[in-house]
Symmetry: C2
DNA sequence: TTCCTAAATGATACACTATCTCATATGTCA
DNA sequence: TGACATATGAGATAGTGTATCATTTAGGAA
């Protein structure tokens, strides 16, 4: 773990605590466990993956609580939800991830990731004119990956 | 129903038949029913909504078949999947809806829609080089809408 | 510290979406 | 028409996420 990473995690933790305090909510056992697991997660993860991980590690937290805390973290701005359009809810932390986009195979659901390009900014003027404060964006391609094409002889 | 609409549906049907023929698949009863229902749908719809509709109308098609045909239509390019990040799979037909993207407010979850721009194609070469067969894409912006900014004094 | 109260939690059941299996039906082509 | 591959339906099943509610716990007051 690099120093930068640790420092960023502390900042995220502070952000989370600030949010909880401001909202009159408690710094509970479950929230600390889930926050910790989220920070250890690499790349994107689904609620279910995180919940399963907690259960497998025998952490003292239940599945409903994992889901509840994920929504807390979402509101606190610690994680964001990526809109993949499949039946799972995907999240990733906000710190330490370079902006990137996703292409997902509709057959096997695997992802290809690719860095974002500034051409995306072509949409900014329109949104700003509407008074929309842009926090981020994601491009999502869907299609069929090479493997699945080979498999199905398309 | 306008004449243009009817004509476009015929074109979509032709596209679907072309796809089926080319892929060595059959023009079956179920595929015709589901195609018809999809063309009657307005705006975005989920697989389950369409399936439920078919069952309620007592059409001679089962739920698994509705799902199967939706994937056919997706690959044929008759419908596209929109990535809303909730737990349902959303679709919309390609004809008569201009390709558009969404900006969603993280506070109130409302959408702003805006037309897509060909600058998005900057990502095509990279994906094609990987053998990824692109069926569609969506840009998803997230941020805070004007109303919510006013409300929260951001 | 101890007590009090509201918030948080866990166990469990549940709702819902989507998919799998496999026996049967159906369309294509010879 | 007969043969064969594809498509389908019924039902079971997997998987994700939520509701309920009795119990526990955090955090402030005394
Ligand atoms: Zn990612
Ligand atoms: Zn694939
Ligand atoms: Zn808003
Ligand atoms: Zn739309």
């Amino acid at each position: 773990m690099s120093k930068v990473n640790t420092q960023m995690i502390d900042e995220e933790r502070a952000k989370f605590l600030r949010y909880l305090t401001k909202a009159g909510r408690r710094v509970s056992h479950g929230r600390e466990i889930v926050f910790d697991q989220v920070m250890r997660a690499h790349g994107h993860f689904t609620a279910e993956e995180l919940a399963r991980g907690c259960l497998e590690k025998k952490l003292k937290v239940s599945r409903p609580t994992v889901y509840r805390v994920l929504y807390d973290l979402l509101e606190a701005g610690v994680i964001r939800e990526t809109a993949f359009g499949d039946k799972h809810r995907h999240f990733e932390h906000v710190y330490d991830e370079k902006p990137h986009h996703h292409a997902q195979c509709i057959r096997c659901h695997r992802f290809i990731e690719f860095p974002d390009r500034k051409e995306d900014e072509v949409y900014h003027p329109y949104l700003e004119k509407q008074g929309f404060k842009i926090l981020g964006h994601e491009m999502h391609f869907y299609g069929v990956c090479r493997k699945c094409q080979d498999k199905e002889g398309l």
